[in-house]
């Protein structure tokens, strides 16, 4: 009996260790995480203090957004920026925003964990007369915040499809690969695609399905479509991963040459595929631009200047011609 108990505890401890290592491990590695306490006596020395509520330090793309802020902050005198990590936990983020309010920071930059809990955080800041700038994740009622800085998902779909239709010379069969159905990015990107297709009578959507953002599922979907014998001139995917899956399926049957493939996100993998000519188009959401612009707006608001309600940071189209520039960015 005793031995069994020991076993049990040993394994219990092991699992706890594993779980905590897996889920919480990287926090200490982030140099910015420690700066939380520094702002406790905000604005005491006449500096402007800006609090940034970051949803997830581990997210690669968001880390570029943070880079953008840090670079911009370096150019500003008398500005101190505090970054806090909500670790993808909305309630944690709420208490972090409340802390900012208590510390009386001069402005808050909020990148919401989710769009459901964001309005409450905006209310908290407004009630304390602290300007709050929402960045990157848009939701209904975002105009209540002091300002919003981000990119419009629909623009990515428009830009992507416009480029594809140019390549098709306004004529051809298109297959659409959707992301996880019902998510904002999927809906808007597809909507953008369809708007462009609507303006080009020569282009038809012949197939449409979902790859749930996943490379393997995009590949499976493409394999099935290829079996159907339907002629496909271009594959337009909601993201790069599914586009790469489609490319692999096309390659396996030797049909990649005749087919245009387009993605969105400009991930490092995707850029390699663009460079080798397998992926014709992808769209870059300007993370640094959003970070820069978000912090700039916050500083302006903190100084009491009037700010634009909406700042749209444009997407950038990536093709073989300018791909090297973006490969640089990720390095």
């Amino acid at each position: 009996m005793q031995r069994q108990k020991n076993w049990f505890w040993l394994i219990g401890v092991l699992v706890v260790a594993l779980v905590s290592a897996a889920c919480g491990g990287q926090q200490a590695a982030q140099p910015t995480a420690a700066s939380e306490q520094q702002g406790s006596n905000a604005a005491a020395d006449g500096k402007l203090v800006i609090g940034v509520a970051h949803p997830d330090f581990d997210d690669k793309w968001l880390s570029y957004l943070q880079d953008g802020m840090e670079q911009y902050a370096a150019t500003q005198k008398d500005v101190e920026v505090i970054y806090v990590d909500a670790m993808n936990d909305a309630s944690k983020q709420l208490s972090q925003v409340e802390n900012f309010v208590l510390q009386k920071v001069n402005a808050i930059v909020l990148i919401p964990v989710d769009t459901v809990s964001a309005p409450e955080m905006v209310e908290k800041a407004k009630a304390a007369n602290i300007p709050i700038i929402v960045v990157n994740r848009q939701y209904d009622g975002v105009e209540n915040a002091t300002a919003y800085v981000g990119s419009e998902s629909i623009k990515a779909g428009l830009m992507q499809m416009e480029e594809v239709s140019k390549m098709l010379n306004g004529k051809g069969n298109v297959a659409l690969i959707n992301g996880q159905m019902g998510q904002e990015a999927q809906i808007k990107r597809t909507e953008g695609n369809k708007q462009v297709i609507g303006q080009n009578p020569g282009i038809q959507i012949v197939l449409e399905g979902t790859g749930e953002w996943d490379r393997a599922k995009g590949m499976t979907l493409m394999e099935n479509w290829l079996q159907s014998g339907q002629k496909i001139d271009a594959v337009v995917s909601n993201n790069d991963e599914m586009a790469i899956g489609a490319i692999m399926a096309l390659e396996a049957v030797g049909k990649l040459e005749q087919t245009i493939v387009a993605g969105i996100d400009a991930t490092p993998d995707a850029l390699e595929y663009v460079k080798s000519g397998k992926l014709q188009v992808t769209v870059f959401q300007n993370a640094r631009g959003q970070g820069e612009s978000g912090l700039a707006t916050a500083i302006k608001a903190a100084r009491g200047e009037t700010v634009e309600k909406f700042t749209w940071v444009p997407y950038e189209l990536v093709t073989k011609d300018n791909v090297d520039e973006y490969i640089q960015k990720w390095q």
Partner: protein, 333 residues
């Protein structure tokens, strides 16, 4: 005395009567889903002219081999009234680890494969040990492993896919032997091995016994803990194999890979007649279950049915299968 003899006769009649009913029931429960599969194939062939071609049929089996291999492991787990929710996450963990080891010019091919399989086995053994020694519900333990393994995969890869795999490694998921995709051969191999394990060895008999009645198995002197650890270990091993195939197929180790595969695998097992109440389930059934899902996915894609409808139809089929299953077993009481 005469009433006595009629009673005995009655008993005999009842005893002789039931097997007939039982036989037709057994026939339905054994071949019911096969009939549904055949019906689906015929239906799809009528609706889509390109469905019933050798290349498409191979395509379906190839696509289902990953989930199918997971489902075979899960079948054993479900037979013992357990559940394994960690399969998808184990796939992801194995995927990123194997991808990082299978870089060109790196280690020989067997190293990533052995490490990957070992990792899967380890997760399974941890699951099995906590479930049997700690007496914690499999649902909770494997849910914990699902979260932990996914976290470990993200941690290991820094959340990014790991590409640039060596050519020999790509053969596992993309290669062919005599025109048959290699994943299909692996799927068949796993199917045959597991069939033998389950039906021709004492281990298999014990698996069914534990699922049929754990109390009785304990009294019959079966080492329940040991058998359970083996089962979860085997399921973990097969998840790892599936992860290796998937990684090779998409030529990339992905921390987000295998998302929700555990549910597809469970669905395949259940559609194939594996009973969630334990003691019942066959490898053949699970393979048929996987093929039913595969044919549905493929056929609906060929027909360009909207994604929303695909989900509804898949859901309906799974529920119908479980309904038939419960009808079958409710007759007991």
């Amino acid at each position: 005395m005469s009433s006595e003899t009629t009673t005995v006769k009655k008993q005999e009649r009842i005893a002789n009567n039931s097997p007939l009913k039982v036989k037709s029931l057994a026939f339905l429960s054994r071949y019911g889903m096969l009939l549904i599969l055949i019906a689906l194939v015929i239906l799809m062939s009528i609706l889509s002219p390109t469905f019933f071609t050798a290349s498409n049929l191979l395509n379906i089996v190839k696509q289902m081999s990953v989930v199918g291999i997971v489902a075979i492991g899960v079948t054993l787990v479900i037979i013992t009234t357990g559940i394994d929710l960690s399969s998808g996450s184990v796939i992801a963990l194995v995927s990123v680890v194997v991808a990082s080891l299978a870089q060109p010019g790196g280690m020989p091919l067997f190293v990533p494969i052995i490490v990957g399989l070992g990792l899967g086995l380890l997760t399974g053994v941890i699951n099995g040990t906590i479930i049997s020694k700690g007496k914690i519900a499999p649902f909770i333990v494997t849910l914990g492993m699902m979260t932990a393994a996914r976290g470990a995969a993200l941690l290991y890869s820094g959340g990014r896919p790991i590409g640039n795999l060596s050519e020999p490694f790509k053969f596992i998921g993309q290669g062919q032997i005599f025109g048959i995709p290699f994943p299909i051969l692996l799927f068949a191999f796993v199917g045959v091995i597991t069939y033998l394990l389950l039906n021709k060895t004492k281990f298999g008999k014990r698996v069914y016994a534990i699922g049929g009645n754990e109390q009785a198995a304990m009294i019959a002197g079966i080492h329940i803990d040991r058998v359970k650890i083996c089962i979860y270990g085997y399921a973990g091993l097969l998840s790892a194999l599936a992860g290796i195939i998937l990684t090779s197929r998409i030529a990339s180790g992905q921390p987000t890979a295998g998302n929700m595969y555990e549910l597809d695998a469970i669905a395949a097992a259940v559609i194939g007649g594996t009973s969630l109440s334990g003691g019942i389930g066959t490898i053949g059934g699970t393979i048929i279950g996987a093929l039913v899902i595969g044919v549905m996915n493929n056929g609906l894609d060929l027909l360009n049915v909207s994604s929303y409808w695909q989900q509804i139809l898949k859901g309906a089929i799974i529920t119908a299968a479980v309904y038939l299953d419960s009808r079958k077993h409710n007759r007991r009481s």
